[in-house]
Symmetry: C2
Subunit: 185 residues, 2 copies
DNA sequence: ACTATATGTAAGTAAGTACTTACATAAGGA
DNA sequence: TCCTTATGTAAGTACTTACTTACATATAGT
């Protein structure tokens, strides 16, 4: 071996480190553009070691995106139960947009692969967000007969934070407050 | 030859037909996920014929997306010169969103490949749209110090028509009119 | 009828790629 | 000290894929 110093890790640590490296690689090159060798190099291990931790490239991909995929669709229930409905919408929106803004690279990866990878398409990512937003709109008592304009404004806002993500929490709070004011009417 | 009947085309026709088939393939599978064989099969020709028309897969891709790429960034100058600035914004927005909604698949493909393909990233697609919108906002005299909220509303709206594209022209007109009313203040 | 053009089939090349097998070695805990 | 565990190198397998070469054939226009 050449320089194996400081490379040894516990199985758990290594697994997590591989998934991190894999995610970075997939974000840079997409699923089909990433090779298992790319991922191994980024994790600074050999390709053989990589396959000692995962059965296939597909499995690596799934395990890598899973935490974000799950978290991004999970409503932030914490502390939102006590709020009035319109305030709940505001709270959840702020919380979710902060999350999306923070993880915009991974979420764009998921959106990307949704178009071309049947297994990812099955998650119906956009569809699930749409349903979630429709629920919130209904719950907040905002006119749904308004030809879907509130829904489109909300979805558009979320997407804008994916593609124009350079913002801090203050700016997000500010934007959402003004957006809620617009939608309330 | 087995069944060559009705397959012969003029060079121009065949070229266009290959580009159409290629675009469909790329939309379905992405650039890296599409093989030249896939494209040839969709065009109902042999792979050899395909390479008689194009030098490389990359060239096919570029030639296939080019018309949409160019058109989507071109302001619709027609008849927009005589309009007042706020009406110009409304007119252009309606026109561009109709275009985007109509070609949402190709534009999503471009956005997708922008993330992973350096040559496509060079087009700075999102950046160019941002600049275009900023110009229009400025020209329309809409408060730019408003922390970029109008810009984000416009960009978000455009993106929403990429991901929630099932609309007709009436709905787009209606949405844009209400959006302009919101932004005007 | 002749000729340019469009297309096909067959076959191959060179490179890449997911994943495997076999064997060696060093580190860490018991 | 022993043994489990993490990791490496070397080599290979089976498959895919962009792109080429060579040769044959049918069609359309002149």
């Amino acid at each position: 071996m050449t320089s194996n110093i400081g490379k040894r890790m516990s199985r758990e640590e290594r697994r997590e480190q591989i998934l991190e490296s894999a995610l970075k690689t997939f974000i840079e090159k997409g699923y089909n553009g990433s090779t298992t060798m790319d991922i191994a190099k980024k994790a600074d291990i050999s390709e053989v070691t990589l396959f000692r931790y995962f059965d296939s490239k597909k499995q690596i991909f799934m395990d890598a995106i899973e935490p974000i995929l799950v978290s991004s669709l999970k409503e932030s229930l914490v502390a939102s139960k006590d709020l009035e409905t319109i305030e709940k919408l505001e709270y959840i929106l702020k919380d979710r947009i902060k999350f999306i803004s923070k993880h915009h690279e991974v979420i764009k990866l998921i959106l990307m692969e949704s178009q071309i990878n049947p297994e990812i398409a099955d998650f119906n990512f956009i569809n699930q967000i749409t349903l979630l937003l429709q629920d919130l709109i209904k719950e907040a008592g905002i006119d749904l007969k308004n030809e879907g304009i509130p829904l489109r404004l909300l979805m558009g806002s979320i997407l804008s934070f994916l593609y124009l993500p350079e913002v801090n929490d203050e700016e997000i709070n500010n934007y959402v407050e003004k957006l809620i004011n617009i939608i309330k009417k």
